[in-house]
């Protein structure tokens, strides 16, 4: 399958999962702690060597689309742009010193499971933290927001790993 087609298929699937399944998910009291967003994996799956302008534009438009579904007026867009900004500098720290093809993407196959989980884990928590703070628009109760971001971020990682495993399995079959 053409990587671009595959990417677009994944994009559609993840977006639909986000706005149809996860948005309507009711966890009762846990809703306060767990507000999972997984769609940002699409931004993280983009190739490492990408034009920053294009990268940010994709992130921004993705955030705007999610904002339209969630009625959040630029909050997700802001968090996505922040995510793209952080990834641009963060990913360099995780890469092997040499022998890594910058044209590929950051996947489990390329960098190994632990590094990949670390990569999406950090970025997922940062994404949620930025989003929660931007949503409240103040730094009051920072540690509460941080813990909310931690629980939501960890939940998102688990969900993403599950999704990944499911995709890998179906591909092998």
């Amino acid at each position: 399958m053409n990587p671009i087609t595959r990417y677009i298929l994944k994009l559609l699937f993840i977006m639909l999962l986000q706005v149809i399944v996860l948005k309507e998910m009711e966890l009762g009291a846990a809703n306060w702690w767990i507000t999972p967003f997984v769609y940002f994996i699409i931004i993280l799956d983009l190739p490492l060597k990408i034009n920053p302008l294009l990268f940010m534009l994709i992130a921004f438009s993705l955030g705007i689309i999610i904002d339209m579904f969630y009625n959040t007026f630029g909050m997700h867009a802001s968090a996505c742009v922040f995510l793209a900004f952080v990834r641009h500098y963060f990913v360099v720290l995780l890469l092997p010193r040499d022998g890594f093809d910058m044209n590929t993407t950051f996947t489990i196959k390329n960098v190994g499971f632990l590094k990949y989980v670390f990569y999406i884990g950090i970025l997922s928590v940062l994404y949620h933290l930025w989003f929660f703070i931007f949503e409240r628009f103040s730094f009051d109760y920072f540690f509460l927001r941080l813990s909310q971001a931690l629980t939501s971020g960890i939940f998102a990682i688990l969900l993403l790993i599950l999704l990944h495993l499911a995709f890998v399995k179906t591909q092998k079959n």
């Binding site: 302008l53 900004f85 641009h88 628009f137």
Partner: protein, 281 residues
Amino acid sequence: MQNIFRLLQKFQVVLLFLLFQILCFILLLSGDNQYHKSSIASSSNAVVGTVYEFSNSVTSYFHLEKENQQLVEENNELKKQLLSRQIQVGKMFVRVNDSVFYQQYESIPSKVINSSISFPKNNFITLNVGKELSVNSNMAVIGTKGIVGVVIASSNSYATVMPVINANFTLPVRHANSKSFGRIFWGEDDTYLTATVIDVPSNVAVDIGDLIETRGSDGMFPEGIPVGKVLSVSPVSGETYQIIKIGLIEDFSAIYNVKVIKNLKRNEQLELEKATQEKFQ
């Protein structure tokens, strides 16, 4: 020019980030969400307030001299008011036993300017209050511990008091424990420290050290003002009363601060009693 482009390229990610964040911010404010708008308004108010506070904390030093001048003037003004207030307090009656519905007694503080404790002469006390402060005869005088006497005459600025240690003095008093009443007078064998109480019935058990207080039936003294403590009790043969020697609570040899008590209802009481007596004569 080329350097500028190079610089822009170097920081292009940061610049793009800021640009997009500003875009998101504009989006956020353009939407119909009151929460963020009010939140931004309040935080901008906080910023303005902080700046204003800081500038005020700096500029306030320049006004210190003026402020000091104002404070000195205000202090002088207040001091003037305070002085006149003090005089006024002395001229006004201070209310005792006050309530919204019924006020029976008023009191005025005064000082003893002349007194004597000689025996067997009739002693008098002179106070520094008079008719100007509406002190008239038949007003009660109370010291810091107990009763002193009764005003018998007053001029414009002075009043003379007949104290307990005067042979003409007599007053209804009562035994504080049993409320049996009698009369106090200054007998021939009394010194300035003692007085005699008669008319307390002999069946009333009066112990040494019991308190004798005013009865209040005369319309001059409030009831329950301490008079003295029982020194000795002696029955009188052939009479139904006992003679009680009391030690006066007020120290007449060192009397200085006293209060003049005015009973606002005294005339009413006396008139009623007089009218009642006339009815039965």
